[in-house]
């Protein structure tokens, strides 16, 4: 089989996303995204503005939200709490990884 070459791309780290773009990317209805913002699980870059925009890092979060909502059949408020906890675990894991990297591997 002839194998063609595909370039892997970095996640778009500079771009900002509108609410409707996030809805399309995640498959979540805009109303649910709005509720997640209300509960503090998603934070727009401009919370006071009429048209919210979101940083690129939010894309991973909304995809997780979609999976959790569909697979665990969560209500928006429970979803917001789960997302906050999942995000907190991610931060702790990053910190744990850093601390582990600094530990000597074995006593020589």
């Amino acid at each position: 089989m002839q194998a063609d070459m595909t370039e892997a791309q970095w996640p778009e780290s500079e771009r900002e996303f509108s609410l409707s773009e996030l809805a399309e990317l995640s498959g979540l209805p805009e109303a649910v995204l709005r509720e997640l913002v209300d509960y503090g699980a998603l934070v727009p870059t401009n919370p006071g503005a009429a048209q919210w925009t979101f940083g690129a890092g939010i894309v991973v979060v909304v995809r997780t939200a979609r999976r959790l909502r569909e697979d665990l059949e969560l209500e928006p408020q429970a979803l917001a709490l789960a997302l906050t906890l999942v995000e907190r675990i991610r931060e702790l894991e990053t910190e744990l990884c850093l601390l582990r990297a600094q530990l000597p591997r074995r006593s020589p």
Partner: protein
């Protein structure tokens, strides 16, 4: 096609009502959902659980599943001859689909009946690419081979083997996600093609430990190198370099070699940290023993002076 026992997967009886099925699914989903679970096979287990639930929760699909009869899990079987016709007109080439595709096909047809030609984006897929630290620092290519469900021109569902190479640019690190645009499932009726996400996982390295783009390396030193200072050779991804260890270096002290970590995507690179470890010879020669003894008698250095201070403060 391999048989899967959806009832057994959810741990329910064949006559379980929808509430019992829902309850069993939720309990298992909380345990194995890959976003929540730490279990190494959580993803595979959850996929199986979700597949069973997707089929059993809908009466039409459950009836269709029950019509397949009961077989041993993993047993090769073919649906009864009239099976497809009874539940609609989707045709399957039964050899190259699995049980989940069969029921996804039923759902697809139901949607088709209701809404006509709705624009459906293709499914996104995720795979993990295991690469070495050296590959990550130079950039590399990986061979991918995926079986992606697709409908052919006649509306029949197939699993299509797709093989391609993907170029991973330098700068990727553990846990990073890269996107292969349009390499997921095909979109239907003008919907966009799905993407394939590549999760980067680095193999553990014998020398370096990774945190983001920074690398950590244990640097064993002799007691006299640590006390007097020394210039030692340190291996880096770009070749060995000389590092000046200052006099009076103690165990655990970090020495930074700026820019000697993993390259970053756009520009720059992480740092390499050499962590001092002070190592004493396990076997001493006569001469070494004599010198250490002389040191013990001569030196009045006491690294435990603060113990006494603490004891005095406490009393």
């Amino acid at each position: 096609m391999k048989y899967k026992d959806y009832y057994k997967i959810l741990g329910v009886e064949q006559d379980a009502d929808i509430d019992a099925i829902k309850k069993a699914y939720r309990k298992l989903a909380h345990q194995y959902h890959p976003d929540v679970s730490k279990d190494a096979d959580a993803e595979a287990k959850f996929k199986e659980i979700a597949e069973a639930y997707q089929t059993l929760k809908e009466p039409e699909k459950r009836a269709a599943y029950d019509q397949l009869g009961r077989h041993q899990p993993g047993e090769d079987f073919r649906p009864p001859p009239d099976w497809g016709g009874q539940f609609g007109d989707t045709q399957f080439a039964f050899d190259d689909v699995d049980l989940a595709d069969l029921f996804a096909g039923l759902a697809g047809r139901a949607q088709h009946r209701q809404g006509g030609a709705m624009r459906m984006p293709g499914q996104d897929f995720e795979v993990t690419a295991h690469i070495t630290l050296e590959d990550a620092s130079r950039g590399t290519t990986v061979d991918l081979n995926l079986a992606i469900p697709e409908y052919d021109a006649q509306g029949r569902l197939h699993r299509v083997q797709r093989a391609f190479k993907a170029r991973i640019p330098k700068g990727a690190t553990d846990g990073q996600r890269l996107r292969l645009r349009g390499k997921g499932g095909k979109g239907a009726n003008g919907g966009r093609d799905g993407d394939l996400y590549l999760n980067i996982a680095l193999h553990p390295h014998s020398l370096y430990r990774v945190s983001g783009h920074d690398l950590y390396l244990d640097l064993p030193l002799t007691p006299w190198e640590a006390a007097l200072g020394a210039v030692v050779e340190v291996p880096t991804l770009g070749g060995a370099v000389h590092l000046k260890v200052p006099a009076g270096t103690h165990a655990g002290q970090k020495m930074r070699l700026a820019g000697r970590g993993l390259p970053k995507p756009q520009e720059g690179a992480g740092d390499l940290y050499a962590i001092a470890q002070i190592v004493v010879p396990t076997v001493l020669s006569e001469r070494e023993r004599a010198l250490f003894k002389q040191m013990a008698e001569t030196s009045n250095f006491n690294p435990r002076g603060h113990f006494k201070q603490e004891a005095r403060n406490a009393s």
